[in-house]
């Protein structure tokens, strides 16, 4: 479903360049959930943003569903992959009502005014329909993250890119959101890439985990590895240790 080869991202100009992602390659098959862990600043988000098309400066190749996509995406390419961001407070426009936020993707794609789909979308993520007339600040973090997920799903993308979708949330609410994501994945046969620094979340959600350090993948762990606590690199060992103290 997703194939990435030799992805390189460099920030900054010649004199002060910052090589953030260094030639990573990976593939994700349809319906699979891939996790990426790593310490802060190692380039996880950058990989995800490059996949989504939010980053302009990458080199290498990215293909969705066998088709190569470029740096500037067409509407059809955008429909293939949507993203959910880390901060539920920042990912909804503070002056758009929830209904508007959910209708916007459809309007932006030029597919009608979108209001018809709002109720359904809200129900799918377990929110009451009357929330459509609320503003984001009238919602809790978890509820916002649900809206963000609903918004990402409203265009029915086969791929969902999740950048630490729960790290700003409480454990209890995190559980709700993780359950919701798992349900949606099952229902729609979604392909996930989930980025997090929390190994326990990753191992709960993912079939396979890539461990990232300084812009490269240093380890790859399967679900079984995680359960057994098996690691193949010293860095992932350290990470594993620290996560479950």
């Amino acid at each position: 479903m997703i194939k990435v080869e030799n992805l390189d991202v460099v920030y900054g100009s010649k004199d002060k360049s910052n090589h953030v992602v260094r030639g990573v390659s990976f593939a994700v098959s349809r319906g699979e959930a891939l996790g990426i862990v790593g310490e802060s600043g190692c380039g996880k988000s950058t990989v995800l943003r490059s996949l989504a098309g939010l980053e302009g400066g990458w080199t290498g190749s990215i293909s969705f569903d066998g088709k190569r996509v470029g740096k500037v995406r067409t509407r059809d390419e955008l429909k293939l992959a949507q993203m959910v961001f880390q901060d539920p407070y920042g990912s909804l426009h503070p002056r758009h009502r929830i209904g508007t936020a959910l209708a916007e993707p459809i309007r932006s794609m030029g597919a009608g005014d979108g209001w018809a789909r709002v109720a359904e979308a809200l129900q799918q993520v377990g929110l009451p329909v009357h929330f459509a007339s609320r503003f984001p600040h009238e919602l809790s973090g978890g509820q916002r993250q649900r809206v963000a997920i609903a918004r990402a799903l409203i265009l029915s993308p086969p791929i969902l890119l999740l950048d630490e979708p729960t790290s700003a949330l409480d454990v209890s609410i995190q559980a709700e959101v993780l359950n919701l994501l798992a349900d949606q994945r099952e229902e729609r046969n979604l392909t996930f890439i989930l980025v997090s620094h929390d190994l326990s979340v990753i191992s709960h959600m993912c079939d396979r985990v890539l461990v990232m350090q300084n812009g490269v993948f240093v380890d790859e762990l399967t679900k079984a590895d995680l359960q057994a606590g098996v690691t193949h690199a010293s860095y992932s060992h350290e990470l594993f240790d620290a996560s479950f103290l």
Binding site: R49, A52, G53, L54, R75, L78, K79, Q82, M83, F85, Q86, D87, G90, S91, L92, H93, P94, R95, R97, G99, T100, A101, E104, P105, S108, M109, W115, V118, A119, Q123, G126, L127, P128, V129, H130, A132, S133, G142, Q143, A148, R151, A152, L155, E176, L180
Partner: protein, 300 residues
């Protein structure tokens, strides 16, 4: 929370009227906690009322000269005295509110959108667009503003209209900078990234996502600017380049009244007090609005 409410109500965006009503009443409620701010808004409200009903409030024609009655001190017949042409100063002050409000509103209506659009476009598109627009802004900003206004008044001929254009010409850069700063923050917000992801066009993002976020601070800034506009207009009036006689522009009134300051204090003091009160009211109102609307200044 996860239980799904079966709600088949048809979802409609709420009417614009309700929205405006809601936010105004919210602001009004907050205002109640700010006595000083309340005073500012009340003064402004009075000013607007006076401007609208000027013909009913003013006891005399503001331009009617009675040379025999020149320079009478305040009395029951002339609440604020008369000027050197025997005109009733109170009536002139009352009519002057119209000029003041007209000036302030015209400048704001010109400057607000221009500043907003320039700032937002610069902030959002960044790169070369930003560099060019900001260079222009810097240059206008580094112009001595009163001098530019003077030059402009000299070029177009003195008059209220010229004064408005001249003030507008130098009043937009701070707004543009503010809007840009705001836009720079907003454009990096996740909801803008999300909008790009679902294919919103740059124009859509600019006007539906970024501009609305910049409007409150622009409004606050405009309100604060209004005091400055009044003072600049008064300075132009003082230099004889603002509203032309017999228009009862306050600055011009001071300007001609200052010739009598030592012996007939009311001729210059009355309009001075009017300007002071009005610009004070605008300043207080702007300050309060900022406290209310701008999260950075809000009480934690």
């Amino acid at each position: 929370m996860s239980n799904i409410v079966q709600d088949d109500a048809i979802i409609q965006p709420p009417a614009i009227g309700t929205r405006i009503w809601n936010s105004t009443s919210r602001i009004l409620r907050k205002l109640a906690d700010e006595p000083l701010g309340m005073v500012g808004f009340i003064i402004l409200a009075i000013l607007v009322v006076v401007a609208i009903f000027a013909p009913w409030i003013a006891p005399y024609d503001p331009a009617a000269q009675t040379l025999g009655d020149a320079l009478q001190p305040p009395s029951l017949a002339h609440l604020a005295g008369t000027d050197e042409f025997g005109r009733d100063i109170f009536s002139r002050l009352v009519y002057g509110t119209r000029i003041t409000i007209q000036t302030v509103l015209s400048v704001s209506v010109i400057v607000g959108p221009i500043g907003l659009v320039i700032g937002v476009v610069a902030g959002f598109f960044g790169g070369r667009t930003d560099a060019i627009l900001m260079r222009a802004t810097d240059i206008v900003l580094s112009f001595p503003s009163l001098i530019l206004a003077l030059a402009f008044a000299a070029a177009l001929g003195a008059g209220l209209g010229t004064a408005i254009v001249a003030i507008s010409l130098t009043a937009w850069p701070p707004i543009a900078r503010l809007a840009r700063a705001e836009a720079l923050v907003v454009r990096n917000a996740d909801y803008v990234a999300a909008a790009r992801l679902y294919g919103a066009s740059p124009m859509r993002i600019l006007f539906l996502y970024i501009a609305p976020m910049c409007i409150p601070s622009v409004i606050v800034r405009l309100t604060l600017n209004m005091a400055g506009i009044i003072l600049t207009a008064a300075s132009l009036g003082f230099l004889g380049l603002g509203a032309q006689p017999p228009l009862p522009e306050w600055g011009a009134m001071i300007s001609s009244g200052r010739k009598f300051m030592l012996d007939y204090w009311w001729v210059a003091v009355m309009p001075g007090v009017a300007i002071l009160l009005t610009s004070l009211a605008f300043n207080i109102a702007g300050d309060t609005l900022r406290d209310l609307l701008d999260p950075r200044h809000a009480r934690s």
